[in-house]
Symmetry: C2
């Protein structure tokens, strides 16, 4: 195979994660080590910045190993992100947009294009590689996945998921301690990210397979939520002990498709006549207060799920770096229009190990990997041991940022 | 001075903190090392459990240094907590309650009583020491402070505050990264605990004195909140950059005394006709959406502020242990009816150091230490460098729990 000589460019897109910069560090490191790649550029704010020629030369910023280590432990997208989707062939700005990209590519002699992102970003990779192939501009285009939601097909799990799952499961251990100190009857509802897939909510139960405390009830969006069954479960739990903790996905829906948050708020308007959209946890808090009259609190774990670098998973950070670096190796070897994947390499029961691979983007883009049926118990109020044993290795190890005077020191590009 | 021989008992009361078990470890360790103290008991759920004779012998549970280290890094009250206040002299259950306590004291030969808690717990200490003195039962009664709110008088700062401030300031660094990745106009409102005093909200700005990112606007409950001025400040901030982060205390009030949350929700009812009490952050989110129409998100940091042991302050954990141990020394030396305090020992500009002391409980109980005027800027939308330099040493150092298979291992009593 002939080597393709030239420069590389890397961008980040979609929602931030704790591990997305580890992948960026992996791509930069891999590209700097590749003989056929000379310069490594970064696009600011993804494809948006590329179109505006907001491009930064990265080589000079990463001269020492410590620079990579700092970037690995820095949350959110250090190059900035965007939510832009490239136009389709039938869109009127199609030609102009892609011509502009080729113009920028030529300006910087870009022959390797790495895009770190979720589903929408894989769409960018697919469209760009199609266009460049058709117009005869030689460039290898690779997608590197990231999403805390773990809902991409083709990969055993997604970079970023492990750290989010670690934040959630560690925080859950602490919340279970905090909520257990009193003897009065009280329910705590913890709302966890996940509009469609319940992987993050499932991770809140990890303590159980380690013999540690775990939430009393766990509800995923893969199952229709039934309010009557929920109150049966809750009452049964309150018979046994005074403090109950319930973990719920933000995306919980009733059988008729309405979100739990939505339905419980149908009549709610504020002083200006606006509907309150307070979310699943708040809706359940109000419903429980109404029905049981006991102390209730709802907690939304919120953005920390995607940026809590202070309690990142070592497994996740190392793999996120590794898959970035592997993306460069694959591209150098001729791979293009593919998404990198992580494959679990061990037999069940053996110590966890993984390898990196790549897959045709068209098999992956715009699809969702749900928590499978057999990972959820029959009653739909817990996940199974099999599910937890699948997640457990992904939260192993702690990867702490460097601290100075009490606060973390993050990388800036 | 004659030595008082006998046993000790320790209890925890009020809301949990990350450091309250470090103080418990300090008391147990101190008592086990005191020659005049034989056995060390713990009361479960504070004075509530004492009255029910729910008492546990602690000596045997702490045989190794590792046992203390684990307890120090365990959040929330390991002995359980309560919110009980002891009756006043005019209450009809007064005699019966205190006689019952003396009965339990006699049963276990209790001569040292340590109560770890906030303001209400100091009330318990005051009443108990008064009764025992009057009835002639010899016991030394000492209060050891804990509160994340830092609002107790007499002490330079409260055990538990440093870890809460660290959680908040570290999380703020991460949120500032997360919210900065896009180029679209967006406001993020972060609601921080503190009904009356703004110490925790102030700590969200710590990054500023270290040259790190910090919130664009910071509002404390010590100042009346003015919605017009807020929108002036917010609009000015949005002129300069697209992503604005605002830190607010949950206790923000208007000039007329109504909570910001309350006032903005006056017309809001849910499907059952209940008023929504969504809090200050949510209320401001709705107001901003209404007025500016831009992307807005509110984040409530919630219970993690008082239990995030995974990012505790080393300074706080060590001092919380130290003040517990010092309480025993003081009691052995004859001190009673006092609350332990932490005194800052350095001149301004010199490296931080502290010593432990004690103060008459009556000077402290039922009073609140507010953030002083000169710690808040004139406009009331930031805290001063002096304020931040006061807080900064209290978040220094990281104290991590022990992890096994990815999750923290906490102590159980």
């Amino acid at each position: 195979m002939e080597l393709l000589h030239g420069n590389a460019i890397v961008g980040q897109s979609g929602g931030p994660t704790t591990a997305i910069n580890a992948t960026l560090a992996g791509v930069i490191s891999g590209a700097m080590n590749a003989d056929c790649i000379d310069k490594v550029y970064g696009m600011r704010n993804g494809i948006d910045g590329l179109l505006a020629d907001r491009v930064v030369l990265l080589n000079e910023l990463f001269t020492e190993r410590a620079d990579f280590e700092r970037l690995k432990r820095t949350p959110a997208a250090a190059l900035g992100s965007c939510r832009k989707k490239l136009p389709k062939e039938e869109d009127k700005d199609y030609e102009a947009t892609f011509e502009r990209i080729i113009e920028i590519f030529k300006k910087y002699d870009i022959r390797y294009f790495f895009y770190i992102g979720g589903n929408d970003s894989m769409d960018t990779v697919a469209k760009l590689s199609k266009y460049t192939t058709e117009c005869g501009y030689e460039v290898r285009v690779i997608g590197v996945p990231k999403t805390i939601d773990n809902d991409l097909l083709g990969t055993d799990h997604t970079p970023g998921f492990g750290s989010a799952a670690k934040y959630i499961s560690v925080t859950m251990q602490e919340l279970l301690r905090d909520t257990a100190v009193y003897t009065v009857k009280a329910v705590t509802v913890v709302e966890i990210m996940g509009r469609d897939a319940g992987w993050l909510t499932a991770s809140s139960e990890l303590g159980r397979v380690l013999g540690l405390p775990s939430p009393d009830l766990v509800y995923l969006p893969e199952r229709d939520f039934n309010m009557d069954e929920f109150f049966e479960d809750l009452s049964a739990a309150l018979e046994k002990k005074p403090n109950i903790v319930v973990a719920v996905s933000e995306g919980l829906r009733m059988a008729d498709g309405t979100f739990v948050g939505e339905s419980a708020q149908s009549g709610a308007v504020d002083a200006f006549g606006h509907k309150y959209l307070s979310g699943t946890g708040k809706a359940l808090e109000l419903a429980i207060k109404e029905k049981l009259g006991c102390k209730v609190r709802s907690i939304e774990l919120n953005l920390s799920q995607r940026c809590a670098a202070h309690i990142a998973s070592k497994c996740d950070i190392e793999e996120s770096f590794g898959v970035g670096s592997a993306a460069v190796s694959a591209a150098v070897q001729g791979v293009s229009r593919e998404m990198m994947v992580i494959l679990r390499d061990n037999d069940p029961g053996e110590p966890y190990s993984s390898v990196y691979g790549h897959m045709d983007i068209d098999l992956i883009a715009n699809k969702t990997k749900f928590v499978p049926k057999h990972f959820i118990n029959e009653r739909g109020n817990h996940v199974t041991d099999e599910c937890l044993n699948y997640i457990l290795p992904l939260i192993k190890g702690e990867c702490y940022p460097e601290y100075k005077d009490g606060l973390p020191v993050f990388a800036t590009i």
